[in-house]
Amino acid sequence: MFEWLLNHPWTAFARGDIVFLSGWPVWLLAGAVVAMAAVLAASVLRERSARRVVLWSLQAAFVALLLLMLWRPAVSVSALKPHANLIAVLIDDSHSMSLRDDGRSRIDAARQFLAAPAIAGLSARYGVRLYRFSNSTERIENAAALQASGSATRIGDALDRIAADAAGVPIGAVVLLSDGGDSSGGVGRDTVSRLRLRRIPVHAVGFGRESEGRDVEIAGAAVPLRVLPGSRVEAEIALRSSGFKGASARLTVRDAGRVFASREVALTGAVQDETIDFSAGEAGAHTLEIAVAPLAGEGNTANNRVTRLLAVDSRRPRILYVEGEPRWEYKFLRRAVEGDAALRLVSILRTTENKIYRQGIGDPRELEAGFPSSPEELFRYDGLIIGSVDSGWFTESQQEAIRRFAAVRGGGVLFLGGRAALADGGYGRGPMAEMLPLELPGRHGTFHREPASAHLSAAGRESPVVRLIDDPARNAARWDALPVLADYQETGAPKPGATVLAEMSAAGRTMPLLAIENYGRGRTAILATSGTWRWQMRQDHRDQTHEAFWRQLLRWMVTGTPGQVTAATPRQVLSDETRLRLRAEVRDAAFRPAPDAHVEARILAPGGRESTVELAPKPDEPGVYTAEWNAAAAGSYIAEIIARRGDQELGRDAVTVLREDGVAENFHTAQNRELLESLAAGTGGRYYHPSEASKLASEIEYSEAGVTVRQTSDVWNVPAMLLLALITRSAEWLLRRRWGYV
């Protein structure tokens, strides 16, 4: 319709400019319009009424239209020069194109699109190059070469190839035939920029149904990269469902066939976020299968499960506990952790004014002089617990080292309640004040040896840190049933970013009991009591509540504490991808970035093949080193990264990566129209439905890429102008008759 009214497609106007071929200045047109409107107003608006204003408007519009036509408007647009340009047709040849929608596969629909007369006719005006792409991109002679068997879809790589080809041949436009199911995480900004630089429009033709039909899919799953043995692990799962709204589905986490956790979820018919938590197993690399059970009538069940790696650390983090006076909490905390193979508690206790008692030390000289006097000595620990110790017992440099222990070293620091702790210990002032997750009262006398009952906050009910029982509701009830605490300490409000996981009620008030927050690279927490030992002494000796609480809390403190070398990879599971990217952050003993290290990765590939890759320093991030490596075969890879400075080893760390094939194409099988539309819009192209072949064929010539000519066409004589003139005159005539103005 648009094209019939204006004699040109919309693209011509969108890409072109409106010019006036009369050569008369545009301001004169505007002046003439205003003058004529004024003359008409003097004549028509002698009587002020709404009806006359309407009549005047119609007359003025008609006159303005006539004047506009006199000025000879035209559209000037850049168009491809016939027989001088190439049109690149990119055809998605991945496995997802073999899916059938409405009884026909997507690849067949693409073949049919190519065979449409309008598209086939393009070759009369342009050279047409066909490419197929999936994992890689290659030229093909005709559509018969399409197989729809590629294990991944890399639209970005295919477009990069076209952009590279455009340096040598005049590519006027790209036609992309795809379902948009890109498995490389989308088309990068660099790719779009390269195309824009060459002004190559990408016209996308979308294939496949735009909704999933009746399907449940694990759209995403995230588990921590590494945890300590026995830790509570929380898996965050994005579940996409359609056609099953209100139905119940069972989510399960398995490790080598053994069920770690399982629970029912109610499907919302859209994307929903679910969490499922479980206890990490023994040390080692665990390959977790996160799955939702197939439902009756579900079309695609291959997208019901994903694989994730969970590295359960074999290291045993060391936590330093400094206590200022003999207390029952000290004893029972130690007992709770002593049987934990994943944690090591080293403690110093001030038994008298001048004596300290050390427990859990590795050698007789450890902590011989008391609390570490240098950051290097303190930073050997992964976590720090500060009990009833007056803050003045620490020197100023020790206080600053404690602050940096969390902020820079990335350790976890827990402050306990006590008669010389928190506000009563002077922690509301000095360097340590800012690392506390709670405000502290500006007075003493906040510690009370009176009973307090503990219960979970709303945030605590969802947190694995305070999870004593798997089921959240039963867990909250378990907390409510705990014996009363022996004492409590008043604190203030939580600071921004802090989370109160547990509260306590005492003396008619409710106060924070356990608050946590991330501080710098580390974590801090306050447990505003020294009376959890009652949970041990007031319950059956077989009850493990007290032990579970402390082990969970201390694991939270130290699980994320980095070593001097921290290895990472953006994806632990490479689905139909071969590029293994490694990143290492290297620090010295004081945890300052070490930009002068020699860093290499020893990669153990499937089949026992070993390779060594050197990591290069990143110029803009001191102490960060990166490398890329080609993981050619499917299977598990272990990369151990070792950093040295001269002869001294600064540290080492390892990452595990799983490469799997034939998985990605089972996910997101509906057409990703959003991706195709944004890609087209970003490059100056358009999105087309397969039925719009002729429209595409007529619009494709308007491009600024390749070899172009400037086309200028009159628009004063288009049907739209005549129609507008007729409409304004007819409307005026009809209204005059109706209102009696003859």
Partner: protein, 268 residues
């Protein structure tokens, strides 16, 4: 006739007196009440303050043929407790009150006090329910300090109770290397600490308990659950530490031994 009645009454009175005297002698033994007695301990001003630790004395049922057997848990009470606490306060950083607490074994009160003192356990008579409570107490982490019983006969009575508490656990001599002898004070050179019967007898031992024994029972993780001070009397040493007649070295060792046990209980 009168004379005869008088003679009869006199003879009877003499017999009763003689019997009573012999009975009293048997019961008291060499222990003679002196001008010092337990009733003289004043109640300190903060005796009832709520603190981290307090001297918790176990109140248990007892029996036997000694003069104090019927209420043996009160021996040295409360002066020994209060004087010992003064030492704990002065020599350590433990937050404690000056008064003692009496813990009735027939209640669950003991679970609030992870360290308890038991005097004269050679006289105790504990029921099955009480034994179960004490077993549970120690398995949860409680610590018992036994003191002031002597000789084979009292050991056997003590062990009757222990066998009810822990039928399968062995009572062993605590090795010198154990932390309980080093946690604050090094107590490698320990000697027998006598009660005040030493003033009269000149002996450091009582009955056939010539050699002192530091014994205990360990839990499955190698931690002492109890410290058994057999053939010594630390309670007397604490109680009479303020007397010039009681030798200072013994009093000092008694304090160090008691304090070590508390710190051990609060750290293990």
């Amino acid at each position: 006739m009168r004379m005869r009645y008088s003679s009869v009454f006199g003879a009877a009175a003499a017999a009763v007196g003689l019997w009573g005297g012999l009975f009293a002698y048997q019961q008291v033994g060499f222990r003679v009440p002196t001008e010092y007695d337990n009733d003289g301990a004043p109640i300190p001003p903060d005796a009832n303050a709520t603190t981290e630790w307090a001297f918790a004395r176990l109140k248990y049922a007892s029996g036997g043929h000694r003069w104090y057997s019927a209420r043996s848990w009160v021996v040295d009470y409360p002066k020994a407790d209060r004087q010992f606490v003064q030492g704990v306060r002065r020599l350590t950083r433990i937050d404690t009150c000056s008064g003692e607490r009496v813990i009735d074994l027939d209640t669950d009160e003991i679970f609030y006090w992870p360290w308890v003192y038991v005097v004269e356990p050679g006289q105790w008579r504990i029921t099955g329910a009480q034994a179960a409570r004490l077993r549970e107490y120690m398995l949860r982490g409680g610590f018992m300090f036994f003191d002031d019983f002597h000789g084979t006969e009292e050991w056997q009575q003590f062990m009757l109770g222990i066998r009810r508490i822990f039928p399968d656990r062995e009572v062993v001599d605590i090795p010198d290397s154990d932390e309980i002898f080093h946690v604050l004070y090094d107590l490698d050179n320990r000697v027998q600490v006598p009660g005040i019967q030493y003033w009269y007898s000149g002996r450091t031992w009582e009955r056939d308990g010539i050699e002192p024994h530091w014994r205990g029972i360990y839990d499955d993780d190698g931690r002492l659950m109890m410290a058994i001070h057999h053939d010594m009397d630390l309670g007397d040493a604490w109680e009479w530490a303020d007397s010039p007649r009681y030798p200072e070295p013994w009093a000092s060792q008694a304090y160090r031994d008691g304090i070590n046990s508390i710190i051990y209980a609060m750290t293990h």
